[in-house]
């Protein structure tokens, strides 16, 4: 039964990344070398990701993490006579992929998360010297699978090198003060985000009803989930609305139809609890109105304004599912039928 477990726990094909050995120059002349590497991770894989043919595969370091990390360090820190042997424990090593907002667009991001503990052998037992957590992040054009996949290996090397530089610098500075009687291990960066946030895509339809208008809109919203602080989603939406019949007539028109894009100026979500978000937006509606007056003559009016809305979004299913919500909205616009409008929006859509 026990020997079946590995087969049950892993239902993905495996792919192995080989670490290239690009030597680096330690910035301090410490004569340390890595005597042994221990892989103390509970899950020995780097994570499950799509490969170049778009299949989910479980990634591993070729030759095992212990051997490949040791080989990597040995290239730059060869064993010397009189050198100090160091033992390294790998507490976390994984690669991650997500998507995030950058300036006014969306980009893919990839991360190597690494957590190492450095030990030295003192009077026949391992003494912890230093511990570090480090993220090596990179930004890519959205969906550039080839570049992300091809560079996971490079980020692992960069993360390993970074942790070794940090250890050597610290070790160099405090070596004299380290002794067995008064010994406290050093740590750095204990508080870092070890996981890239999950990216949500929402496509929603909204029904708008206000004092002067009624209509429909379609929106795309993308954001990285975050329990702390404000979330800054990316959103773009298009709306078609028409003046309510009595409103049009009161202003001397048969029909007033408006077509509006609504770029966001400031747009925030705040996660209230799992699956529930408060939203706040300040935006600039831009578009045009098609007007038909009582004599049947058509004209076009360019509209621009400022808008604001406040509301709630419910996203009960994390991976895929329905999204619903409601907003109250206010807007000031160069419309032929109103200057200031107040209304509500009902939102229904799905996330993926």
């Amino acid at each position: 039964m026990v020997f079946l477990l590995p087969f049950i726990s892993s239902c993905y094909a495996q792919e192995h990344l080989s670490l290239r050995t690009l030597p680096f120059s330690p910035s301090t002349p410490e004569p340390v070398f890595v005597e042994r590497v221990m892989d103390d991770r509970l899950i020995k894989s780097l994570g499950v990701h799509k490969n170049l043919t778009n299949n989910d595969v479980e990634l591993f370091l070729a030759g095992g993490a212990e051997q490949s990390v040791q080989d990597f360090f040995n290239t730059s820190l060869p064993e010397k006579e009189g050198g100090i042997p160091i033992v390294i424990s790998i507490r976390a090593l994984n690669v991650q992929e997500s998507v995030r907002r950058m300036n006014r667009g969306i980009t893919s991001v990839a991360r190597t998360h690494l957590s190492l503990v450095f030990y030295e052998m003192r009077s026949d037992s391992l003494k912890e010297l230093y511990r570090i957590k480090h993220n090596e992040d990179a930004v890519f054009e959205l969906g550039d699978r080839e570049a992300i996949y091809a560079t996971h290996e490079k980020r692992i090397r960069a993360a390993l090198e970074y942790c070794m530089h940090s250890f050597l610098n610290t070790y160099h500075q405090v070596k004299a003060t380290l002794n067995d009687s008064d010994f406290r291990p050093l740590s750095q960066n204990e508080r870092i985000d070890i996981r890239l946030g999950d990216w949500y895509n929402l496509v929603t339809l909204k029904a708008i009803r206000s004092r002067y208008l009624e209509g429909y809109g379609i929106s795309y919203t993308g954001f990285v989930d975050n329990s702390k602080g404000l979330i800054r989603p990316y959103e773009t939406s298009f709306e078609i609305a028409w003046a309510r019949p009595d409103v049009a007539e009161d202003n001397g028109f048969n029909h007033v139809n408006s077509f509006v894009f609504r770029p966001e100026l400031y747009f925030f979500y705040k996660k209230l609890f799992q699956g529930t978000y408060a939203s706040m937006s300040a935006n600039v509606p831009v578009g045009f109105e098609l007007l038909e007056d009582l004599e049947g003559k058509n004209s076009v009016n360019f509209v621009i304004g400022v808008g604001a809305s406040q509301g709630l979004r419910f996203i009960p299913w994390r991976k895929k599912g329905i999204v619903f919500g409601a907003d109250v909205l206010q807007q000031l616009e160069t419309s032929k039928v109103y200057r200031f409008d107040l209304g509500i929006e009902l939102v229904l859509g799905f996330n993926f």
Partner: protein
């Protein structure tokens, strides 16, 4: 415009010229010369004239950015092809190296606002 730029990008560090770079190649004072984006060159604005980064062999640095002086320590990460500047006040800056010669260094700052820009430094030494 930005969206178009983003979809056209990214000038990532993996386009680095095939050259073995070592710490020693950075030991000099690098003066800010110009910026470039998509092959167009721009001179730095007035407040950035005279900006520099001085990388010393003892792994300390001094710099001036937008007229403000800063100092601290630096490391070169050969596998990640970047320099990390850690200032005395705790600020960390990451500069991806695209090109390096005796006289010239082209980098990208790891900050969204400037991610599409190449920053050109020259060494007068």
């Amino acid at each position: 415009m930005k969206i178009i730029l983003i979809s056209c990008f990214l000038i990532l560090p993996h386009v680095l010229h095939a050259q073995k770079i070592d710490n020693i190649h950075f030991y000099t004072t690098w003066s800010l010369d110009k910026y470039s984006e998509n092959g167009e060159y721009y001179f730095p604005p007035k407040k950035e004239r005279g900006d520099y980064i001085s990388l010393n062999p003892d792994m300390t640095f001094t710099s001036k950015a937008e007229g403000k002086d800063s100092s601290g320590t630096w490391i070169f990460n050969a596998n990640g092809k970047y320099i990390e500047l850690k200032s005395a006040s705790g600020d960390i800056e990451k500069l991806y190296i695209h090109f390096l010669s005796d006289k010239s260094m082209i980098v990208t700052y790891d900050v969204d606002k400037y991610r599409l820009w190449h920053v050109h430094y020259v060494s007068k030494a």
